[in-house]
Structures are given as structure tokens and as C-alpha cells.
């Protein structure tokens, strides 16, 4: 069964070609701000229907893995996170590119994406039934505790003025409240317009904050920007990581893989939360937390390892329980169902060889991603040599296209413009942008799980301290809030 499954992929040139094509297209989708792995999988899903099961699923897996990894390119080079999964990559990848280490940053991102993806795949192969059982222990109480814990990332990203960071995070949560409320479906803050009934989308908010506000800022500081000498990107050997640096990064790498895997197996949470929690955890345990956000290796490693580790993690509940953990997993699941494969606890018994075929396809896709992105690295870094007065308007057009194609409504493009102005105002008063994005991404989930848990537990908060998992995350939330404060005081005292 195992050999048959593995051979169905590696002995088939068609299957291998489809995986490579999927990874290639996925990287393109992931690297263009606004386009995402979900869109790539969605677009090619009908095409997979005419193929054999393993070929169709392999193509979709290639698109998924390429799309998740491709997000690091725009996050590092343009400082635009195309997806929530690459928000934390901007924090250190962006400054690295600014000081001429774009090649190293992308090389590291590719390598650690690969490591995260492969380690989570190993966990998927050997531990999926146990991980699925663990995921089932999570009720709305535990989910609320996890999202609250994830929101504490804001504390470590608030910069020199924590109060402005917290306000920024609260504004993000408020923005997430626009549209239909969870549980009762009341439409909130639509200001009389039905266009706001579904609320704001992630893509216009992120693109507006990072890309459009950057264009406005460039226009405002035009003469200073034009005087800046062009940063020369240093050439790198291999993936830009020395053996010494690699050995030093092992603890962060393992920690981030575990976080990515752990969050990946929880349905409905996803890569955005994983990369931010992993980033914050790496900063909390680091001996040099002040270096985070200035272009340090650990920050980039934490984000990229974790977001790719969710690829294996999100497959666990999908394959073993039939619960898709993310929208991409839902697409993959529908692809499997159309091919007559029903995900669930019996999948290893009924479709054992296909399962090992899927695992092999994921491994091949990770290897293809590693090779292709490294081969294209010199092309990616060439992007930085394009004069900004040409590059930025082109980025805006691509972003507008990405915003429009997300929901096919011009309102999203309008939101992109609006959030561009809000982002410019934030920059003017020195308010950090990232807490707002985090608040927006996690705020909706927190409210949903908090309300669900209160309804199901009769309005009592006791279950939050009775569940060991919830207690663990609440204690961690406290630690993540208190540790940066103690460190800041120590630094001031010194």
C-alpha cells in the first residue's frame, strides 16, 4: 500500500509535471499582492476533475504549497503581505531587503518554508490520528483562549510607544466588527450601506495599509526618496544561511514548526495566526528581542517556518476527520470528494495507497518549491533595481487587480484607497500598522468564540479556568504581555 502510493507519484511523469506546474503557478499567485493560494486552487479545481484522482490532487497540492510559500516574495521585496500568512515576514524581511540583504532574506525564507513544510508533513504521516484526536478536544472555550493569546502578539509589536500600539490593535478589532456579527447576524457599522454588510476583506486592508500608504508616503517625501542611493543587493551562496547560522536557528525552527503544526490542525484558525504567534514566541524567548523588527534572522525564520508548517497541519483534520481547517483545505476536500474519496476516520483503510500518494505529492511539491524559488531568486531581486517611480504605480495597479478579483466588487478597491489614507495617517502620528492588521485578523475570531463559549456555558467564565488547554493559553498570554514589559523596564533602568 505504501509503495504503491509512493510509486503512483514518482513513477508518473505526468503527475510530477503537474506538481511542478502547480508549484510554479502557485508561486506566481502567492507573490502577487492580493492573489493567494486559495484563488489558485479555486481556479484550477475544475481542471482537476478531468484528471485521475492522484494527478488532480497533486496539482492542487502543488498550487497550495507554491501559493503559501510565494507570499514571502512580495512581503520581503515590496513589504506588502499578500496574505495574512506572510504579515510577520514583512517585519524582518522588509528591513533586510532595505539594507541590501534581499537575496539572503528570500533564500532563508525559501529554506525555512521548505523545512516547515517537510517537518509538518512528517508529523502528518506519523501523528495524524493522534493530532486529530487532540484537535477534537478544542471547544469554543479553548478557541477563545487561543485567539486571545494570539492577540497578545500586539504587545510585542507595539514598538517604543506601547499605548499607540494597543490603540492600533483596538482599531483593528473595531474594523473587524463591521458587517454581520457572529452568532446573531446583526449587521453592525455599515453606515447605511449594504456594501459593508459582509464587512471589510483582509486583502484591501493589508494592501491599503502597506502598499497604498507607502505610495502616498513616497509622493510626500519625493525629493528625499529620490536622493536615496539605490541599495545594491548582495549575492548569496546557496540559501544565504551559513552552517553556524543554521545550527543557531534550530531551536527557533523547531518551536515555529510546532506552533505552525499546532495551529494548523485547529480548524478555522490558519497560517495568519500561526506566523504571528510564532514570531511573538521567538521574540519572547530570544536573548536579543530588541533586534526583532530591524531585520533579524530569527524573526524571518519564525514566520516562514510556521506558515508553511500549517500546510501539513491543516491537512490533518481535513483527511482524518473530514473537517477542512482552512478555505484551501475546503477546496482540496471538495476535489477529493468529487473524485469519490471521502475524507474521514476510515480514509487510511479505504484509500490507503492514495493517502501515501498525497503525502508523496506534498513532499515532491516542497522539493519543487525549494528548487524553483532558488532558481528564480536572481529574477526576484532584480525587482528592487526597478526605479521606484515606475515600480510603485505598477504595484498599485496589481494591488487593485488583486483586491477586485478577491470578491469581484469595486467596493474592495475603494476600501484599498481608504485604508491607504488611514495608513498614511497612522504613519504620520507614529502609530504602528501591524497591531491594527493583527487586531483585524484575529478580532472577528475572538468575538465569535467568546460569544459561542458564553452561550454554551451559560454565561459563565469558569470554564476558561477549568479547561487545562484554556488555562495554558491564558497563562501564555499573560507571559507574552508581561515579559516584554519587564524587559522594557530593565532596558530603561540600564
Amino acid at each position: 500500500m505504501v509503495t504503491q502510493g509512493i510509486l503512483s507519484v514518482i513513477s508518473s511523469p505526468v503527475c510530477l509535471s503537474l506538481i511542478c506546474a502547480g508549484v510554479f503557478i502557485g508561486i506566481i499567485f502567492g507573490s502577487i499582492p492580493g492573489l493567494s493560494a486559495v484563488m489558485a486552487v479555486c481556479l484550477f479545481l475544475p481542471l482537476s476533475f478531468g484528471m485521475s484522482t492522484i494527478n488532480g490532487v497533486s496539482l492542487l497540492l502543488g498550487l497550495y504549497i507554491g501559493g503559501i510559500s510565494g507570499g514571502l516574495i512580495s512581503a520581503i521585496l515590496l513589504k506588502i503581505p499578500g496574505t495574512p500568512a506572510s504579515v510577520a515576514t514583512v517585519f524582518d524581511g522588509g528591513p533586510m531587503a532595505e539594507r541590501g540583504d534581499a537575496g539572503k532574506a528570500i533564500g532563508m525564507g525559501i529554506l525555512y518554508s521548505f523545512i516547515g513544510g517537510v517537518l509538518s508533513l512528517i508529523a502528518l504521516i506519523y501523528l495524524s490520528p493522534k493530532l486529530a484526536k487532540f484537535a477534537l478536544k478544542f471547544t469554543s472555550v479553548e478557541y477563545a483562549a487561543v485567539t486571545l493569546f494570539s492577540l497578545t502578539v500586539i504587545a510585542s509589536l507595539s514598538g517604543k510607544r506601547p499605548i499607540l500600539g494597543i490603540i492600533s490593535g483596538l482599531i483593528g478589532v473595531l474594523l473587524s466588527c463591521a458587517g454581520d456579527a457572529p452568532v446573531d447576524g446583526i449587521t453592525r457599522f455599515n453606515f447605511g450601506s449594504h456594501l459593508l454588510d459582509p464587512g471589510f476583506s483582509n486583502v484591501p486592508l493589508m494592501i491599503g495599509f502597506y502598499a497604498v500608504s507607502d505610495v502616498f508616503r513616497f509622493a510626500q517625501n519625493y525629493h528625499e526618496e529620490m536622493k536615496k542611493p539605490q541599495v545594491k543587493t548582495a549575492r548569496i551562496k546557496g540559501y544565504g544561511v551559513t552552517i553556524k547560522e543554521f545550527i543557531k536557528s534550530v531551536p527557533v525552527m523547531i518551536q515555529s514548526t510546532l506552533i505552525g503544526l499546532g495551529i494548523g490542525i485547529l480548524p478555522g484558525i490558519g497560517g495568519g495566526t500561526a506566523c504571528m504567534v510564532s514570531y511573538s514566541a521567538a521574540q519572547t524567548v530570544s536573548k536579543e528581542p530588541e533586534k526583532f523588527g530591524t531585520g533579524c534572522n530569527e524573526g524571518l525564520i519564525a514566520s516562514e517556518t510556521a506558515n508553511n508548517a500549517t500546510t501539513g497541519g491543516s491537512m490533518v483534520p481535513m483527511l482524518t476527520l473530514g473537517i477542512p481547517g482552512s478555505s484551501t483545505a475546503a477546496m482540496l476536500m471538495s476535489g477529493l470528494i468529487i473524485h469519490g474519496v471521502t475524507p474521514g476516520p476510515l480514509i487510511f483503510r479505504t484509500n490507503g495507497s492514495l493517502m501515501f500518494g498525497i503525502f508523496t505529492a506534498m513532499l515532491v511539491a516542497n522539493v519543487a518549491m525549494l528548487i524553483m524559488e532558488r532558481a528564480a531568486l536572481p529574477v526576484f531581486t532584480k525587482l528592487l533595481s526597478i526605479p521606484k517611480h515606475f515600480l510603485l504605480p505598477c504595484v498599485v495597479v496589481m494591488c487593485a487587480l488583486g483586491c477586485y478579483t478577491t470578491n469581484h466588487v469595486v467596493f474592495d478597491v475603494m476600501c484599498m484607497w481608504f485604508f491607504g489614507i488611514v495608513g498614511l495617517l497612522f504613519r504620520k502620528i507614529g502609530m504602528p500598522l501591524s497591531p491594527c492588521i493583527i487586531g483585524f485578523i484575529l478580532g472577528g475570531s475572538f468575538e465569535k468564540y467568546l460569544r459561542r463559549s458564553l452561550i454554551s456555558k451559560g454565561g459563565s467564565l469558569l470554564p476558561f479556568v477549568q479547561s487545562p488547554i484554556s488555562v495554558f493559553f491564558l497563562v501564555m498570554a499573560l507571559v507574552f504581555c508581561v515579559v516584554p514589559m519587564i524587559r522594557s523596564r530593565k532596558r530603561k533602568a540600564a
Partner: protein, 161 residues
Amino acid sequence: MSRKMKDIITAVVLMIFGGGMALYSLEYRNSSTFETDVGSNFVPMVCSLSIALLALVILVSALRNKDEAYNRNVKVETASKVDFMRCAASIVLLLLYVACFRPVGFLISSIVYLFVQITIFTTRENRRWLPIIIVSVGLPVCCYLLFVHVLNYMLPAGILG
């Protein structure tokens, strides 16, 4: 403008915003059908009031801060009038681009936007028309062909449709 004044203005604006959103949140009280639910106004209310409260903290600490450097008017290298106009023009241009996205169509509106925006971002010395025209026309056409004819996406055709 001194840092103190900047903080005072920020705090006042945030207090008005927080207060306004808190008042707006009152509209959604008692919305839930479940007795044990906190309701749809709970999270927005907590966030709005917290923003207003934290803004008050900024305001009080700004007013109480007697530090000379904090109170001194700092001569910030403000953007020149031309750069300010360039920023304002970029904001208006992007708004026009968004407004024309559907009625005029992606292709034409993008070509015009790119042409005007690149022209705004160049000075007489570094303005070369040929590359500007190639980029302005080439990028939207490539995107349009890729999305519409290869990926089968529907993009607003506008006056060309």
C-alpha cells in the same frame, strides 16, 4: 509643531473616534436572542471605550509633561509644497482610478492611471516618454490578457465591453 501638540491633537481625535463608536455601538444592545450571550455590542463597546480611555491617558500625560524638549517647537523637515501637491494629486488620482474602474473598464482606467501617476512621480529631468508609455500600456494589457483569456477571470470591460 511640538511633540506635545501632536500628541494632544492625536488624543483628542482618538477620543472623539472612540466616543463616537461607543455611541454607535449602543444601537446594537440587547440584540441577541440568547440570555447568556454578551450581545453584538459587547466587543465594539469595549474596544471603543478602551480607545477613548487610552487616548485620555495620552492627553493627560501630554498636558502634564513639562520636559523642555517635548514642549519645544521642533522644526521638522516638512515636505515641500511641491511634494505635498504630489501627494494630494496621487490621492485624488487613485480615487479617480477607483471610481472609473467599472464604468471605464480596467484596461483604459489602468493605462491612464499608470501614465498620469508615473508622470507625477517623475521630474522634467528624468521624464522619458517612451518607457512611460510602454509601461503604462504594457502592464494593463498583459494583466488583462492573463486574467481574462488565460485564467478566465471577469474584469470590468467598461466602455470596451
